[in-house]
């Protein structure tokens, strides 16, 4: 697993949408023939994947929102985004 640089801007490519599914009361990440259910943590990360916010800023925002330690959450957020990149659902 390669690390993500802090100035990388994660982005949803064309054809991937993150949205609320009101019918099923959850957030979902949708791609061609694919639907991922986003749990609460995934939702908080994906809300910040807007094509403008850098990885470093996403981490800072999550650290503040959850009063968490950046060093603790960094590997989790990183592997989450890298996994989605491998599935072609996020570009890094």
């Amino acid at each position: 697993m390669t690390a993500i640089a802090d100035d990388t801007v994660p982005k949803l490519p064309h054809g991937v949408r993150f949205r609320e599914d009101k019918t099923r009361d959850q957030f979902i990440l949708v791609g061609p023939e694919r639907i991922f259910n986003a749990d609460q943590v995934a939702t908080e990360i994906l809300k910040r994947v807007d094509g403008k916010t850098t990885f470093g800023d996403i981490l800072r925002q999550l650290t503040e929102a959850f009063t968490a330690d950046e060093a603790t959450i960094r590997p989790d957020v990183e592997s989450f985004l890298i996994d989605l990149r491998d599935k072609q659902m996020v570009t890094l």
Binding site: R17, T23, R24, I35, N37, A42, D86, Q88
Partner: protein, 382 residues
């Protein structure tokens, strides 16, 4: 975060006489049966809907709005050739606006760059292009259309250049099964992100042409190996999804996630179907979107209720430990090959018709190919 999704609607409600359906996830909108291609494997019905019977723009828009409200996530704009409709951009825009993920399923023939641009701006999320062969000769033979391959290649490259994710869908049969590795190479060369290697499902025109299409067992087995090797080699470049043929299977496929469980189709003329081949089951009562909302149809249409869950089952399905796995397979195939849609799908080893199915496949696959004998899809001459 889990890849799969929502509880299988049928597992928790199956034994009840009228299971309460969970909301559908997908809508196949067959906007028109008109198509420039005349593919011998087409799964459209033999009796195609005419242009004059097609739903108008406003009705389709209402259907898309109702679908989004009902909980549908993906809408597949299909046909026939969906871009043959003059309102395709307007319909796409509306579907995207109400929150549906829009997938255009196209032959790529006759779609101009300007139209592609307009579809992009309208919010089209994804394009699925059909591929009949890896070269001009096979493509023409299968699709009954001259120059198809060149047009498809140009279209594929334009789609990728514009920034759409592209999936190629290759329906596999005896006329093109030798080209599977070449089709994989072409998918990479065109810049596709996904490739579907889908062995023919024998409905509609494909059932009519089955004797010309059925591949030999050893060729099918070879493609399984080819696909597995390519998946490994192309990890991160191309995702390959594969569907292998029923006729050589041991167990049937779970058709559309279960009858009336996950998806629905609407025909060009407006009939709502549990699957796109369901009209072959002649005694079912299908409701039209002209008369009913999608929510009413999903909850109470007799055709949707007919084979939901497991209460309709006979033996060997009724007591089968796999009844919640595949729900007895495909009702349309059970009808076409056994005469009774409530029988087990003959693809199942437990079906009394299973051996006969294998025999049909072996016999048809070993007969000589007569390209001229395949019947090309088309409207009935009046």
């Amino acid at each position: 975060m889990n890849e799969a999704v929502f509880p299988n609607p049928a597992t928790d409600a199956t034994e009840r006489p009228t299971p309460v359906p969970q909301p559908p996830l997908g809508l196949l909108a067959e906007l028109t049966h008109r198509c420039p291609l005349r593919c011998t494997y087409c799964s459209n019905p033999l009796e195609l809907d005419t242009r004059s019977s097609e739903l108008d723009t406003e009705t389709w828009k209402r259907v898309f709005t109702e679908a989004a409200e009902l909980g549908v996530i993906h809408v597949h704009l299909s046909g026939g050739e969906p871009t043959a409709r003059k309102d395709i951009v307007e319909l796409t825009h509306h579907a995207a606006e109400v929150g549906l993920y829009t997938n255009l399923i196209t032959s790529g023939i006759g779609v101009s760059e300007a139209q592609l641009e307009a579809l992009f701006d309208a919010g089209c999320d994804h394009i699925q292009l059909s591929m009949q062969g890896a070269d001009a000769g096979v493509t023409e033979l299968v699709a009954g259309y001259k120059g198809g391959f060149e047009k498809k290649e140009a279209f594929a490259r334009a789609v990728v250049a514009r920034g759409f994710p592209l999936t190629l869908n290759a329906v596999i049969h005896r006329m093109n099964i030798h080209q599977v590795p070449d089709m994989i190479d072409k998918a990479v060369a065109f810049g596709a992100k996904r490739l579907e290697i889908a062995h023919t499902q024998y409905y509609g025109w494909a059932l009519k042409n089955r004797a010309q299409l059925m591949p030999a067992r050893e060729d099918v087995d070879r493609t399984i190996g080819e696909v597995a090797a390519a998946r490994e080699r192309l990890k991160g470049t191309l995702v390959i999804d594969a569907v292998f043929p029923d006729y050589y299977a041991k167990y049937p496929k779970l058709c559309n996630g279960g009858w009336g469980a996950r998806t629905l189709s609407v025909t060009p003329a407006g009939k709502a179907l549990p699957c796109h081949a369901a009209e072959t089951i002649g005694h079912l009562e299908f409701w039209s979107v002209r008369d009913h909302s999608l929510a009413e149809i999903w909850a109470s249409s007799p055709a949707f209720e007919a084979y939901r869950g497991t209460v309709w089952m006979k033996e060997p399905c009724r007591s089968c430990e796999r009844r919640h796995v595949d729900y007895g397979g495909c009702r349309c195939q059970a009808l076409a090959l056994t005469g009774d849609p409530a029988n087990a799908d003959p693809a199942c080893v437990k079906s009394d018709f299973h051996e006969r199915l294998g025999a049909i496949a072996t016999t048809e696959a070993s007969a000589a190919v007569e390209p001229g004998a395949a019947i090309y899809r088309g409207f009935r001459k009046r």
